[in-house]
């Protein structure tokens, strides 16, 4: 299926899901679905740099939080700014930080990049915790509007629609990359960077593109967060859960294709919600970590890999 029709199919599926949600008229469903779709975006973003290019980014919380906190700042400065605009700003800011970190560390071995992203998460958290304008350690309250602009109904439905839109863009981007020369370049870097460089691939430039795209999408996924939770503080905004889920879901679903993060998010997200409701909210958090370790050892190609026909 070519790129154009694929986007149309995605939009059609998204529209169908949204219409179904409207018909159900259950706001709990919207809250849960928002989280799953958010993880599809986060997982896809992580996978562009991780699965496609082979560079593991542990600092997901940093980029995600940059998006979230830029919304908090924008909301305070320009209360009338529409959410889509905040998303763009959040994405750009996170993308810049990503490229910056990459520029400093991507000329070295991949593990140094990964370690730097881990440390980045702590640093961004420290900076935000010390910044009173966004509430520092005490956190910030964001008032969620009562009704949704444009479509009416509860604001959560509007948030879900926005996240669905972001998801369509992210998936379309991922698939487009897979089939393009950019995607081949990423794969060559992942498989053997020195050989890629010797074959003419401008490895640093491509890695920076991947890092910028990946960080940017994570920032965009974080931008609506303050409106979703209404109270944002560093310990929940920087929760390690986001990082583990964003990595575990593509690893479980399969890192070689755009479909992997989708499968991972739906399965693991669904399982987590089920466990949260039936057992406890502490146990559900453990699930992603345990499944990730198990899959990484036993089924490195993920669920997609289990079904892939051997060439």
């Amino acid at each position: 299926m070519r790129g154009g029709p694929f986007i149309l199919v995605l939009i059609a599926v998204a529209a169908a899901i949204f219409a179904f949600g409207r018909w159900l008229d259950n706001s709990y469903a919207f809250f849960v679905a928002y989280v799953v779709v958010q993880y599809i975006v986060l997982g896809t973003a992580w996978n562009i740099l991780g699965g496609y290019t082979g560079y593991v980014n542990f600092g997901i919380t940093a980029f995600f939080a940059i998006g979230a906190y830029s919304s908090v700042v924008l909301h305070k400065l320009v209360p009338a700014m529409p959410l889509p605009a905040m998303i763009v700003v959040g994405g750009v800011m996170a993308g810049i930080v990503g490229v910056g970190t990459g520029y400093l560390t991507l000329r070295l071995r991949g593990v140094y990049f990964s370690i730097a992203t881990l440390a980045l998460a702590v640093v961004v958290q420290t900076l935000i915790t010390n910044w009173d304008f966004v509430g520092g350690a005490r956190g910030a309250y964001v008032l969620r509007p009562r009704t949704a602009p444009l479509i009416g109904g509860g604001y959560i439905e509007y948030l879900f629609l926005i996240m669905l839109g972001l998801c369509v863009i992210a998936l379309a981007t991922a698939r487009a990359i897979e089939r393009s020369s950019l995607g081949f370049g990423f794969a060559a870097i992942r498989d053997d960077e020195a050989a890629a460089e010797a074959s003419g691939v401008p490895t640093l430039k491509l890695k920076l593109i991947a890092t910028g795209l990946s960080g940017g999408f994570m920032g965009m996924a974080g931008a609506p967060l303050p409106f979703y939770v209404t109270y944002l503080d560093p310990s929940s905004g920087f929760s390690l859960n986001y990082a583990v889920n964003a990595i575990a879901m593509p690893l479980i679903g399969g890192t070689s294709s755009w479909l992997g993060p989708v499968i991972g998010a739906v399965l693991v997200g669904g399982l987590q919600e089920y466990l949260r409701v039936t057992i406890s909210s502490a146990v559900n958090v453990l699930v992603a970590g345990v499944l990730m370790v198990v899959f990484v050892i036993i089924a490195p190609q993920g669920i997609v890999g289990l079904f892939k026909r051997k060439r």
Binding site: G51, G54, V56, G289
Partner: protein, 291 residues
């Protein structure tokens, strides 16, 4: 800003002592990453495990935390060997280390943190010992025993390991495997077995480091993450494969952090390690005394 010499000197001294402790925390990674090229980012999880074991021994049995750590040292050694075995079979043998090996350790780190929260909760835990509280008065300086004891333990550990690595047969075999695995194989030593022992040692150090940690400060499950940045900043700054370099780097970081905390406030301290790491990677990635 009123910079009194007294304040400055005390900041430097406590930084130095703190740096010694940081060396204890990093020594395990100096072995696993510096010598075996295994990026064990879950090392802080093992340290915290040591802290909590020391906590239980101390509150339930009244045992001194350092003593408790020494008692469970063999168990940590075995744990390290077991973890390496899994890592070897699942990743090293398949030559698929980077993405999945890192994710494996990240998963372990996360599981350990959540596991500790489930068992112990998020409250801060600390230990009691006769040396926590009083200080040693040395000339003009005030050396809290709370910092001095971990510093001394750490130095003993570092010196002990350095002697082991350079004098004993097994220690030299470990150094050999770090430099040239093939040559070692040709000399009829089994590199996998040696790496397993080395990794076991690496985790064993976490037991003592954990006891030191809970002596210096109260612990709660999420502080492991702060230490990843510190540990790798120290190992990279010191130069991989160099113990003396690592110790110098640890002292340096300790002093810089202490000065930052004294003059800019303690909430900025975690960011210092990252700054140091980034600058080192950008300017001199091989570190001070690196190979």
């Amino acid at each position: 800003m009123d910079v009194s010499l007294d304040l400055l000197m005390n900041a430097v001294i406590s930084g130095l002592l703190l740096g010694g402790f940081y060396a204890a925390v990093s020594i395990g990674v100096a072995i696993s990453f510096g010598m075996l090229d295994i990026v064990n980012i879950a090392h802080p999880a093992f340290i915290l495990l040591g802290s909590y074991i020391a906590f239980i021994a101390n509150t339930v049995l009244g045992i001194d935390p350092i003593l408790a750590a020494v008692i469970v040292l063999p168990a940590f050694y075995l744990l390290g060997m077991a973890v390496y075995q899994v890592y070897y079979v699942a990743f090293e043998r398949r030559d698929d280390q980077s993405l999945r090996g890192l994710s494996f350790f990240f998963g372990l780190l996360f599981i350990a943190e959540v596991g500790l929260i489930l068992v112990f909760g998020v409250d801060y835990r600390s230990v009691n010992a006769p040396y926590i509280g009083p200080s040693l008065q040395l000339v003009l300086f005030d050396l809290p025993w709370r910092l001095l004891v971990p510093f001394l333990v750490s130095m003993v550990m570092a010196v002990g390991l350095q002697v082991f690595l350079s004098r004993s047969f097994l220690g030299r075999a470990i150094q050999a495997v770090a430099q040239d695995q093939l040559a070692l194989q040709l000399m009829a030593a089994n590199p996998v077995k040696i790496k397993r022992i080395a990794f076991g040692l690496s985790i064993a150090t976490a037991s003592l480091a954990g006891a030191c940690l809970i002596i210096i400060q109260p612990v709660e499950p999420s502080i492991g993450r702060e230490y990843i940045g510190r540990i790798f900043a120290i190992c990279v700054l010191g130069g991989l494969g160099s113990f003396p370099g690592m110790i110098i780097a640890a002292m340096t970081l300790g002093i810089v952090e202490s000065l930052t905390a004294t003059f800019f406030g303690p909430s900025w301290a975690p960011a210092v390690a990252f700054g140091v790491l980034l600058v080192t990677l950008a300017v001199r990635p091989s570190g001070i005394l690196g190979r």
